[in-house]
Amino acid sequence: MTVPILKQGDVLIASIQAALSDRDLAALRDELADRVGRLRIRGVVVDVTALDVLDSFASRTIRGIAYITKLRGADTVVVGIQPEVAFAMVQLGLTLDGVTTALDLEEGLEALRSLRSRTDHLGAR
């Protein structure tokens, strides 16, 4: 199953609706990496609200998305990790270090805004 990627201004929103195979995840990563550069994207939101499990490959791939898009000039925020999923991930040592997280889509967009104001501030200096 491919993940729909919506473009909203200079933000991409990838909403994962069902459990993904490893190949689908890799495809999502490649697609996002491509579009971020092509469409001059500044922020990416990956929504995992619908997932009730995030295994090591999935969390590694999501972390990869965050790092890759950063190198391509966009911040990534992961939103909607459920309480049980969060605790299970921590117990497995999958802590998504260096990745911004937020409660839901709304919070994620807000987080992107504040991240951007920080980078804009850096650029102005």
Binding site: V78, V79, I81, Q82, P83, E84, V85, A86, F87, M89, V90, Q91, T95, L96, T101, A102, L103, D104, E107, G108, A111
Partner: protein, 321 residues
Amino acid sequence: MAYGTNATAQRGLMKEMGLSDQDIERRQKIVGLEPADVARIGQIRDLVTGNVDDLVKAFFGFLSVLEEARPLLSNRTLTEEVQRLKREHLIAMVQGQYGSAYFEQRVALGSIYGKVGIEPRAFLGAFQELLKAIGILIMKRFEGGPTDGFATFVSIQKVGFMDIGLIVDVLVFERERVIRQQQEAIRELSTPVLQIRDRLLLLPIIGVIDTHRARLVTDSLLQAIRNNRAKVVVMDVTGVSTIDSKVANHLLQTITAARLMGALVIVTGLSSDVAQSLVALGIELTKLNTVGDLQGGVEEAERILGYRVRQVAELAPPPLV
């Protein structure tokens, strides 16, 4: 009746304790009760039923001088009730039927002992007195053949020991019931998650935290973050006097999980003992946001959320008279 002699209560208790038919068989096996024993007990049926009042007297006479048995015997209706049940017990002991009906009677008596809080040692003493009285009766009857007498006594003793095992289990179970209730109460009291501003939660932790409680704290915090859409959580551990490495790691995991959900946790009120033991335990603390006291933590959280708290006006000076 107030002291739970009705049959449904007994069956409920037996079920709670896991006294199934298999368990009853198992208990008979443990004391080595065999058909030969039942046959031997049959020979002294008249002996015990004939002297049942004396035997009941031996049991309660022994208890009446003991301080440990006072709660049971200071209440008159209770005393009559347990004497009646004891009489039933002695008669049932020699009937050769040791199935669930027999166990139900024992549990009824045991739960009375348990509810008034009689000490197992007092009960054991009285039971020994009872067995001695039965033994004397038996040896009198078998004066010609002491070996047979002894074998018969051993048979009835097996039943007695099975009873003791059961009664002690009931006593322990009743005692543990109090512990279970208190644990439940502690659990309900122990993990409040309070919203003190929009998007700001306060999680006060008081008392001893063990792994079990830490797990509860985690669950309620993560749920509360989602339900209240919290962005910052102040976890106050002023009331925690000790912490071990397992619990500390668990709390750190909670904090990391909260971060995955997009919430920042600020820990406040680490006492010097707790702080020293955390450092001594070598726990990874770089990811921990700490502020000295609760007030400081709340102020920091408000700053992060963009609140600014101000007094409305300077307090007016006291009016001159």
